[in-house]
Structure formats: C-alpha cells, structure tokens
Amino acid sequence: MIRVSGVKKAFGEKAVLHGIDAEFNSGQVNFIIGRSGSGKSVLTKCIVGLLEVDAGLIQYGDTDFSELDLKGREKVRRQIGMLFQGGALFDSMTVLENVMFPLRMFSDMTEEERLERAMECLRRVELEGAEDRFPAEVSGGMQKRVALARAIVGKPQYLFCDEPNSGLDPQTAIVIDNLIKDLTHEYGTTTVVISHDMNSVIEIGDSIHFLHEGEVAWHGDRMDILDSGVKSLDGFVYASDLMKDIRKQLRKK
C-alpha cells in the first residue's frame, strides 16, 4: 500500500499540489484522473521521488519514503516498475536488452534465467519475435508494450503507469488495460495509473482519485464515478457525447 498525506508541491510561486491525501491499495488498480494541469503527473513524480515534496508524507507500506536517504530510496525504487507515457525505452538497446535491463542491474539471476523471464514478459505483452529490434524500429504501441514488459520484469511490488493508453489504438489499449489488471490481481501489486481514458477507468479501475486544481476533489470506485454529484468530476467524465449518452441510458433505467 502507498499512503500520501498532506503532500504539497509548488514551482516557484505556483502551487501545484495543495495538500494531497490518498491511499493506493495493494492488489488494486488505483487510478488518478483529472484534467491536464490538475497535478496528476507532479503527484506521481513526487510519489516515486523524481520530485521532492515541499510538505507531507509518502509511505510505501510502513516505510516513510520522503524521509529516506538516497540509498534507502534506491532500495524502495527497486520494488517499483514504471511505465512512462512515452515509453522511455533506452534507444541504444534492443527490445530484449531493454526488458532484461532491470534484471541485469539488480537481480541475482543467471543470464539464462534473466533471458527466460524477459521472454516470458515479452510473451505476455504479445511481443514475441520483436526481441532483436531496436525501439526506433517498432511502432508506438509496441514501444508501450515493451515498456510495460520492462516495468513488470522484476515482479515489482508497486507499478506506476503514466497514460498507458495514450496514442494506442482501441484494441491495443484493451490489451494493455487487461494486462495491467491481470498483473495487479495476480501479484497483488499496488498499481497506480494516471489516465484521461474513461474507458480504462470504468473497465479496470478499482479505486479512483479525481484531482482538480491540485486537490483530491473526489475518491471512490468505478461504480460511483458516473453518479458522483461532484460538478468538476461530472464535467470531466461527461466531456464526450458518448459518455453523455451512457448517462442518459443509465437515468432511463
């Protein structure tokens, strides 16, 4: 479980996070949703330690991450897998080398075991056969899947996914969503997904935090999100005509 308490972050005079409180549970797909500029990415970067918080606590289990020194943070980070929005694959390495990278850096596995584990992850993301290609030689969707394979190769306790479906076709988006859900439930991972994609939220979201102007404006599960009564959330959820139609149908029932 990850607990965030009273987290504040400002860039110069501009406050981005105004005291965020949130809990992200193990074995659940926890969504952070919100409009662009609401502070989702900043919050995630604070949680993984890429940005220092101005105030507040971030706890991984019982460990107070924000109080740890560099060595302590590295120890926690080795239990983290992160899927970046752009993939963030190492472009000088092949697909297979990218996926094997975390194992090469930190695991005690033999090279054969690493290879086997990396291939297993590539099979899960349906990328068997692409292992010798470089990131520049595969499509954007494939890059995302490679990045997901790299994020899960070390069986992380905590998985962060930044816009996992952005730039993907609907079919691939569903594959990625299902994979995130399956891995989370299979390994009991604490998964945090940042997304704008309401399809994903409604399909796989176990717990949802809605950020609005640097604050958690709403928290609940996917069953409640369609009828939250929070104006800013309704504006976000029902931004598309499709979602408006869904609401009409739900109200008729």
């Binding site: 970067k45 590295e74 980070r77 080795r78 983290i80 970046f84 752009g86 694959l89 190492f90 472009d91």
Partner: protein, 211 residues
Amino acid sequence: MEAIGVQSVGIVALLSVFMGAVIAIQTAHQVGGWVPAYTIGFTVRQTMILEFAPTIIPVILSGKVGSNIASQIGTMQVTEQIDALEVMGVRSISFLVLPKLLAALLIFPFLVVIAMVLGMGAGAFICDFAELSSFADYEYGLQVDFSPFDVTYALIKTCVFALIITSVSAYHGYYTSGGAREVGRSSTKAVVYSVVIVMVANLVITQLLLT
C-alpha cells in the same frame, strides 16, 4: 569507448597528417640564411607535441565527442529515459557519465600520441617529397634539444582536457529540459563551454608546468 575513441581515429589522423605537413612547409619557407635546415624537424616536433596534438586535437574532439555526449544524454533526459533509470534505482549520473569520463581519460592520450607521431611523419614525408630538406636534417631536428618532459606535459594537458570535455558536455546534456530544440542548444553550449574552459585550462597548466 568506441564512440569516444575508435570513431575519432580517422579525423585525428587526417588533421594531424595535414597539420604536420603544413607546419613543415611553413617552416621551410623561413629556412635559409641564418636559419638551419634542421629547424623544420624541430619546429614540427615542438608544435605537434606541445600544442597541436594535446590542445587542438581535444578542441576538435570537443566538437565531435562533446556534442555527441551532450546530445545523447540530453535526448535521454527529454525522453524520460533518465527518469526511468532513477525510478529503477539506478544512479543515472554514475551510470551515464562515469563510463564516458573513464573512456575519454583512457582514449584521449592514445589519440594525442597518434596525432604527434602522424604529424611528425607527415612532416618528414613532405620534406622528402617537396625537397624541402634532407631526411637527415629533418631527423636531426626531431631529436635536437628534446626534453621528454614535453611529452609528459602534453599528456597531463590531454587528461585534464578529456575530463573537462566529458564533464562539461555531460553536464549540459543532463540538465537539458524541453525538447529537440533544447537538445540542440545543449549540444552547442557543451562545445562552446568546453572549448573556452580548455583554452583557460591550457594557459593555467602551461604556466604551472613550463615556467
């Protein structure tokens, strides 16, 4: 090591050969009257060992290697590859910069020695080919009043410049923020700052070691 050193051998060799030959011709132009013929070999040797190989070659390498390092690390920064390393628990600076620093420290002296040898060799060739002086005079000029410390001085300078070029370039690459345009800017800044710092360091080291 390959990107920093092996891929630079060609340009280093090319420049050294032409510079050695040109210095020989220019010196030969001054020879005659009270200037003895062996001055050609002497001047080529001193120029190549004291200044051209250890200073001009690193300056040229700062354009090739420095911009390469800055743009590579800069691209990694703007495409979140460095964030990915950090989140994995990898110390990105050590992981990305240290190998480049060590590679440069190892390979720059080799390149500089290659430049010295090729420059002096090219001088000998042009003297013979263009009948500027006899080989015996040139050879005598290469040996006359030779101080082995000059080579030590050159290699010390080279190592310092290698350190400056890689660390300045890595710094500019690492602290790139934005997109492709900023990567280009960092790359340019890396070269400009490297060259300026190398020039200042050259003066300081020369003052310290040769006076």
